[in-house]
């Protein structure tokens, strides 16, 4: 999977804070099943499932240290993952097929990690 033509992409999951009602166990198991299918289908592309980012954090600037990592209040950077793909288009396709984007209020930012 790490042949010469593949690039690495960092995917950052943002979701709007607060909001929607909790899904029921039966809805959750459907989501979990979709997740498992997606992981299996794109196993070659998924380098690292990454993880969830805690809400604890700080922003360090030249003049001060601020509590909280948030740049914007409305959206929370909730998690990250690493993908391998031949192109940004392929990375987009992989993310679009994931159940993560199905939640309204969620966006995923994809950045190529430049090694040059």
């Amino acid at each position: 999977m790490n042949d010469q033509t593949s690039n690495k992409y960092l995917c950052m999951l943002r979701s709007e804070s607060g909001g929607c009602e909790k899904p029921s166990p039966s809805e959750m198991e459907a989501m979990y099943a979709r997740f498992a299918d997606w992981q299996q289908k794109y196993a070659d592309n998924i380098l690292d499932m990454g993880g969830k980012l805690s809400q604890q954090g700080a922003v360090v600037r030249h003049d001060a240290v601020a509590d909280g990592p948030f740049v914007e209040i409305k959206e929370i950077l909730g998690g990250y993952m690493m993908l391998s793909a031949a192109s940004l288009e392929e990375a987009i396709a992989v993310i679009q097929a994931s159940p993560m984007v199905a939640n309204p209020g969620t966006s995923i930012e994809i950045r190529e990690i430049s090694t040059q």
Partner: protein, 421 residues
């Protein structure tokens, strides 16, 4: 992985934690278990599923409840020192909480069954018991339940909260039901399971998967019951047998477009023979004791259908007399209709009509499409065309939805004299 892991973990965990904390905290417990599942949904894709998912979920839910109740207690104490003498809610002693006990699996199942018995309260309407069971023990949301039972969400919610209220009033859940009460409740538990099954089986929900869901859930509960001490009853086994024998034919009741397929046209080769064999074995085990229940007889009828090599080869005479027996046991117009149809096959349509002519119709049944559909069919078959068309019109306008209406039309179009208006 177990396909229904989330749903199947939910009920037992809710039941066990509720048993520990008291039924007054059911809502907090449901919330905590739901949150634990949400955590699982976040973590398991990364870290993989834990070896014992229920223990993992238990710990997460328990931790949340403990910190919630501690915070509440602190608030209460603070208010008391400030002299704000509000009547404070009785909080459970969470300090005594510990990790999952030894024999955890057994205790989970035990708590689950106890809660099922407690929720099958004789003072509650059976539909409310069903809604409560589906929500708190089977892990469906109110919206999903409303869609499955063809009721409004508001109605489903009302039923759920009334059932929860009833449970609170009656502390059966934390105490133990005695043997006599358990025996009495068993009948009610059977009713709820049977209703869950028929809601799936007879439903005309266009999505077959949704209907299978309900049927399979009912069968799962039936299994848990039969394997428990309280369910060591021939009637429980007969109920389970009945559900297996019907479930074996479920997928052939609908064609690819979702239209209903009548028994006569079902592909018998596509029936699930594994399920039929299990059902027959259960029915065999149910044949002990003195009592013959409606489930025994209904399962016997289902078995006749499963074992007949064709519609024509069915032993209709036996089926007709089984329905007659059912009528004596528990009079219902549905059994009368079943007998009329079986007699029409065994003798002729006139014989079927004769059975219907002596029938006293209860009010609720008069506006049901079943009655008119059967009557129309038998009238057409015996040459009473005017009566046939009259009843057919009433059946079509009483049909609850499009699927049933078109199945009826397809059936009536076999008769030349049917005028489709």
């Amino acid at each position: 992985m177990n396909q229904h892991l989330f749903r199947h973990e939910y009920g037992p965990l809710v039941a066990l934690l509720t048993r520990r904390l008291g039924v007054g905290h059911l809502a907090a417990v449901e919330d905590a278990v739901q949150d634990a599942l949400l955590k699982a949904l976040e973590h398991w894709p990364h870290s993989g599923e834990p070896e014992v998912p229920s223990a993992w979920l238990y710990r997460v839910a328990e931790r949340r409840l403990v910190s919630e109740f501690r915070a509440q207690r602190r608030r209460q104490q603070l208010l008391e020192t400030l002299g704000a003498g509000e009547a404070s809610e009785v909080l459970p002693d969470v300090e005594a909480f510990a990790d999952p006990p030894i024999g955890f699996g057994g205790e989970l199942t035990d708590a689950f069954l106890k809660m099922l018995f407690a929720s099958c309260h004789p003072d509650l309407p059976v539909h409310s018991q069903l809604v409560f069971t589906l929500k708190s023990l089977c892990g469906f949301s109110i919206a999903e339940i409303a869609a499955r039972l063809f009721m409004s969400e508001a109605n489903a919610y009302k039923r759920f909260s009334r059932a929860r209220q009833q449970l609170r009033l009656d502390a059966d859940l934390s105490g133990q039901l005695n043997d006599a009460e358990t025996e009495r409740r068993l009948e009610q538990v059977h009713k709820v399971i049977y209703l869950m099954f028929t809601e799936g089986y007879l439903s005309s929900h266009p999505d077959l998967a949704i209907r299978k869901d309900l049927c399979d859930e009912a069968i799962r509960l039936g299994h848990l019951l039969v394997e428990s001490r309280a369910g060591q009853h021939p009637e429980s086994r007969a109920l389970l047998a009945l559900m297996y024998l019907h479930r074996a034919r479920l997928t052939t009741r609908q064609d690819h477009d979702g239209a209903l397929v009548l028994l006569e046209h079902q592909q018998r080769n596509d029936w699930d023979w594994g399920l039929i064999v299990t059902g027959l074995a259960l029915l065999n085990q149910a044949a002990e004791g003195e009592q013959l229940s409606r489930f025994h007889i209904e399962a016997g009828i289902a078995a006749e259908h499963c074992m007949a090599s064709s519609f024509e080869q069915t032993r209709w005479e036996r089926i007709a007399s089984s329905y007659e027996l059912l009528e004596r046991l528990a009079p219902s117009p549905m059994y009368r209709l079943g007998r009329a149809l079986a007699l029409a096959e065994h003798q002729d349509a006139e014989a079927g009509l004769a059975v219907l002519s002596t029938m006293v119709l209860p009010g609720w049944f008069e506006c049901s499409y079943y009655w008119y559909a059967v009557k129309a069919d038998l009238c057409f078959r015996s040459g009473h065309m005017d009566d046939g068309n009259g009843s057919a019109g009433k059946a079509l306008s009483a049909a609850p939805n499009q699927h049933i209406r078109s199945a009826l039309k397809r059936r009536f179009r076999r008769y030349q004299d049917f005028t489709d208006t």
